[in-house]
């Protein structure tokens, strides 16, 4: 089981949440090409290591928030709390 630290409620079982992906900038404006929009839809970093991501606490405060999670150990930490030397 992994526990997700909700900044509003505290740590909860991950099954209370909905994973909602890496934060990405949605292309806006009339000059966005289909290819640019598809890149936004489909491309992911899929990194191994610490990643910043969005979660939605559907069975709790029902708010979106960001955390950092390590994709191998599934350890979580607040955004920006990385120790200086290991920001990878």
């Amino acid at each position: 089981m992994i526990r997700i630290p909700c900044p509003n409620c505290g740590p909860r079982n991950s099954n209370e949440f909905r994973y909602s992906g890496e934060p990405r900038k949605r292309p806006v404006g009339d000059d966005v090409t289909p290819a640019e929009f598809r890149a936004y839809l489909y491309e992911h970093t899929n990194a191994l290591g610490w990643v910043k991501e969005n979660w939605y606490h559907s069975a709790g405060c029902r708010r979106f928030f960001q955390i950092e999670r390590h994709t191998l150990s599934n350890d979580c930490r607040p955004v920006g709390s990385a120790p200086q030397e290991s920001a990878s």
């Binding site: 991950s14 099954n15 489909y42 491309e43 994709t71």
Partner: protein
């Protein structure tokens, strides 16, 4: 080594990957046959190693990263169909250490899109003859495959699938709940359950195979043709000059090669990162479990999308279970209690009589999911860098056809027609091959 029955003879292999004195080109292992079994049995003779260790050479014509079924099959068909034998298959761990040794070994071709159906059907054709082709008992068993429908929407999708399947000559039929009950009497087909069974897509040629045997069989056959398989050899980087691949950097030194094929499934993004290529892959863990063995009562493979579970029974009598992928990406291969709890509750809804069975083992593997549940295969913008990735939860059954098609693509330097819909360009072009309706839970 103990011999249990004549039908299992070809499984007797040494896969330890430890040092061997045999050199490349040395006579391969004795042919597996009843006569050889009797001879070895009477003389207590050792079976020779089926594949060998080698020094890493300075250069190869083709380097394949990943010794799962995809890498091994591609190597085998490069050598057997195209005479390209100066090939190295590199794996950071061992043969079948990825998804190829962790899957639930379900094979079928009742997909949804014409591109998908023809592709997976070719794999079934190759599987039918594989034991003979490789001289290795792969225990291919066309025992029948049932995808249960619990909602009107899934009945509709299944009717659609059945029609596409039939059009392409694949044996596939929508059947009602009574028929489901006749085929599998242990399934609860009563109408007062939480999710009553309304019918099923019945695919008689679907079934299971012995996944380890397929991996070892391809490894042995490729080795015999001169391919070098290097276990415990991690690729750390890929060298390019002017946008062209020139070789790889490994934990055992540098190797030059004009062609590199990425067959690393769950780790594929990390290899693509080495050449700066972004593909729409997300790695999700998938878990599976087996029970203690009991007398065989379940003939078919049974899949329930609504209940997120599928089950088959091995010849030994264990029930093999799988489910959906974890709902978040991760590279972790740890099992979880949530999985077994949910699994158990759903299995009991389907087959109340198995409630007393004990689970023996559970494990997890990594799945490289794509947005349309179809693979990404062939050329990339980096010259000499080929991919055979995006295998998600369904790639084992595709091993033979993928190996054949990737070998052809590399040998001809032209995308093989059977995989022409699976190029990476379909994402920027918006021409997806949507298989979600046929591939999300029923792997």
């Amino acid at each position: 080594m103990s011999v249990r029955s004549a039908t299992e003879v070809p499984e007797i292999v040494d896969t330890s990957g430890q040092a061997s004195t045999q050199r490349r080109g040395s006579p391969g292992p004795a042919k597996y046959s009843a006569i050889n079994l009797v001879k070895k049995g009477l003389s207590h003779g050792e079976w020779p190693r089926t594949f060998h260790d080698h020094e890493l050479a300075k250069s190869y014509d083709v380097v394949i990263i990943g010794a799962g079924i995809h890498g091994l099959a591609a190597a085998y068909y490069l050598a057997s169909n195209h005479g390209i034998t100066n090939v190295a298959v590199l794996d950071k761990s061992y043969i079948g250490g990825g998804g190829s040794g962790r899957n639930t070994a379900i094979v079928r071709s009742n997909y949804l899109t014409p591109e998908g159906v023809s592709f997976y059907e070719r794999s079934m054709e190759l599987y039918r003859d594989l034991a003979l082709t490789l001289n290795f008992n792969v225990m291919f068993s066309e025992r029948g495959h049932l995808t249960l429908a619990h909602t009107d929407a899934s009945v509709r999708t299944m009717r659609w699938r059945a029609e596409v399947n039939k059009l392409l000559g694949v044996n596939s039929e929508l059947i009602d709940a009574q028929e489901v009950g006749r085929i599998e009497p242990r399934l609860d087909v009563s109408t007062n359950t939480r999710y009553p069974i309304l019918g099923a897509l019945y695919h008689p040629p679907g079934g299971t195979i012995r996944h380890d045997a397929v991996n070892w069989g391809y490894a042995r056959a490729a080795d015999k043709l001169g391919v070098q398989i290097h276990q415990n050899t991690e690729v750390l980087g890929i060298n390019t000059v002017g946008g062209k691949v020139t070789g790889v950097r490994t934990s055992r030194g540098e190797v030059s090669a004009p062609i590199v094929l990425n067959c690393t499934a769950g780790w594929a993004s990390l290899i693509c990162d080495m050449v700066g290529l972004k593909l729409p892959l997300i790695t999700h863990p998938l878990e599976a479990a087996v029970t203690e063995p009991v007398k065989v009562f379940l003939k078919s493979v049974v899949v329930s999308g609504s209940l997120h579970v599928y089950v088959s029974q091995t010849d030994r009598g264990e029930l093999v279970f799988g489910a959906s992928t974890a709902p978040y990406p991760s590279y972790s291969m740890r099992g979880s209690l949530e999985f077994t709890q949910e699994l158990a509750s759903h299995v009991i809804e389907l087959m109340p009589s198995v409630a007393g069975l004990r689970l023996m083992r559970q494990w997890a593997g990594l799945c490289d999911m794509t947005p349309d549940f179809s693979p990404i295969m062939g050329f990339t913008p980096v010259e000499g860098f080929f991919v055979d990735v995006g295998w998600g939860t369904y790639g084992f059954k595709a091993g033979p056809v993928s190996g054949e098609a990737m070998a052809k693509t590399i040998a001809d330097q032209m995308q093989a027609p059977i995989i022409s819909a699976f190029t990476y360009e379909r994402f920027p072009a918006g021409t997806l091959v949507g298989e979600k309706g046929a591939a999300s839970v029923g792997h």
